[in-house]
Symmetry: C2
Subunit: 345 residues, 2 copies
DNA sequence: TTGAAAGCGCTAACAG
DNA sequence: CTGTTAGCGCTTTCAA
């Protein structure tokens, strides 16, 4: 038989109301009574019944918001899948979820949304935004107002966000290195393409990538690193030049987003399927390239969890006033190839 | 505002009790009334509140059992993690879960457990057992008695089980092939080690593996296939002989369980890290071998989900009399290497 | 064949 | 400071 509040009340010689007050650290309980009740709770190892709590809570409507840029394809589909599942789980608890999508190239819009939310009566925000001073200050503002913010996908570490849900970027570069390292043979070289050293995400990936090769003992001169700013033409030209100049290059690590440009170069040079390519994330084009054998592996970051978990964390906080233990909740780094790509949620 | 039973009752001009009877297809409702109520339910798109249902259901104690062999290490840990999560989710609904573990080498024991369960008052069984006539008949027996059985990890397809949760074995072989195919170069050969052709699991893996290479156009004579019956010494000897006789072998696909024996051969022959090895599942030793670089990749089958989902499916059936749509629920095939092995749940 | 009512465990409002 | 009470939405008696 499961322990109920009534049983605790009886054993401690108080009423259910008082037990409830103790459970939620509410005021108006004499310290000695509180202590007595707490002991009984401990002794009996009381676990609240979530269903009952949900029911009783129901008229206490709560609103959560999730704010992210205008992604498309897999990214969009997976995160929305995660949001939908969280919404369903939370709806019976009187918690509703509202997504807000801002134009990817218009960060001002993101700030506007946060402003509007601040003035509304949201009870929590899941946020994926660029790491700028304005955003950071806004998060701290919200924190002051007791509106908790959980960042996901891309962190804003030096803010008062509750926690971060997303990939560990350094590690994701190491995973890529580990895959390629198995293939590398004497004298063969690798081309590393990143967006921009200033962008911490890509930098961390490349750092992790090189770090792992260092450990394995592959000399640094085997790597050609180029910065391509996520631009199609720049990527195309630089990758082309690099491959033309270095016939020993057998591997490409794309730490940035212009995978299409890279694929196009390989096709034009007749190297598709001859040079191994590892990249990140699953977009519709990357999927296609996997199937065609132009890209060999891609490393996925579980967007589903990135939609689901931040909302559930916020929901838990609303319902049980409990803040998460870990400030960094890293999502799985799944290795995807042409054969297991079907299994993505 | 969410639709409640009361709202339906009002709109249809009946009482809540009648709506409940209609919802659950219970008898004692005049056909015309039933129809009217059903229409209102449709119109208002009624979604039952799970929390309320859980509460009201609570005294209706239900028992689920999960039966599986005495695994150890990761296998055991992951499945127990899945069971624990399912148990927690179900406990508020008055559903309890009891695991039963039988000696891996003693299938009779499994049957005894099922016999005992049949005589007890379980309301559903999640089962991982060998595919034998006796087991199959027992499942059909249980089905007659309206005790639903969900198989997991290893299917018993020609029985009256509700559905199967586990990996798609043919596909898992294809995933392995896809990985190795990227590393294979002209003239290089591959050693394929399986347990036993009779064992459908290993056979399907090898079939999938060869099928994929067929598609890619690698000639069959590049593959050496040996049967090792999951025995350490047989595996050791046969792998040793194969490698000694064929210096062109650069890859090993272990479709069976004696990975340790294979690793030992590689070490003895000084080939560890020189020959690429892909295998299945994550055991403590495989983990160790990944880190040492003796095994390069392993394909994981999500044991967590294999513990979690069968129980949740059975729980859903108990609570909403709903049987699952898909009879095969395949779990993810995750590719694991030395760097992302940490992220396993 | 139907409706009314009690109660699942918890919370919140009100009364003392 | 504390106890009592009235629900939350659903299921399940029991009476009609």
């Amino acid at each position: 038989m499961k322990i109920t509040i009534k049983m605790i009340a009886e054993k401690a010689g108080v009423s259910a109301g008082t037990v409830d007050r103790v459970l939620h650290n509410r005021p108006n309980v004499k310290p000695e009574v509180r202590e007595r009740v707490e002991k009984v709770i401990q002794e009996l190892d009381y676990q609240p019944n979530k269903a009952a709590r949900a029911l009783a809570y129901r008229d206490n409507y709560k609103q959560l918001a999730i704010v992210f840029p205008s992604w498309s394809g897999y990214f969009r589909r997976d995160i929305e899948h995660g949001i939908a599942d969280a919404e369903e789980n939370l709806s019976d608890f009187g918690v509703s979820v509202q997504p807000y999508i801002y134009d990817q190239r218009n960060h001002k819009q993101c700030l506007d949304i946060l402003d509007a939310l601040q003035r509304s009566h949201v009870n929590g925000i899941a946020l994926c935004a660029e790491n700028s001073v304005l955003i950071r200050e806004k998060i701290n503002d919200l924190h002051e107002q007791h509106i908790p913010v959980v960042t996901f996908n891309s962190d804003i570490a030096d803010s008062k966000r509750i926690c971060f849900v997303g990939q560990e970027t350094l590690r994701s570069g190491r995973v890529a290195a580990e895959i390629l390292s198995k293939y590398l043979r004497d004298g063969e070289e690798t081309l590393v393409v990143l967006g921009n050293y200033e962008y911490s995400g890509h930098k961390a990936r490349v750092d992790g990538f090189l770090q792992r090769f260092d450990e394995i003992g592959v000399p640094r001169e085997r790597f050609h690193i180029i910065e391509c700013y996520n631009e199609y033409t720049i990527t195309f030209d630089k990758v082309y030049d690099a491959l033309a100049a270095n016939p020993n290059i057998r591997f490409i690590y794309m730490a940035n987003r212009s995978v299409t440009a890279c694929a196009e170069v390989l096709r034009r040079m007749g190297l598709a399927g001859k040079i191994r390519v590892v990249c990140h994330d699953v977009t519709d084009t990357i999927c296609q390239l996997l199937r065609e054998g132009v890209v060999d592996f891609t490393i996925e970051q579980d967007l589903y969890a990135q939609g689901y978990r931040p909302l559930m964390i916020l929901g838990d906080m609303l319902m049980s006033r409990r803040i998460p233990e870990r400030r960094y909740q890293y999502t799985a780094l799944n290795i995807i190839n042409a054969e297991n790509v079907e299994y993505l949620k």
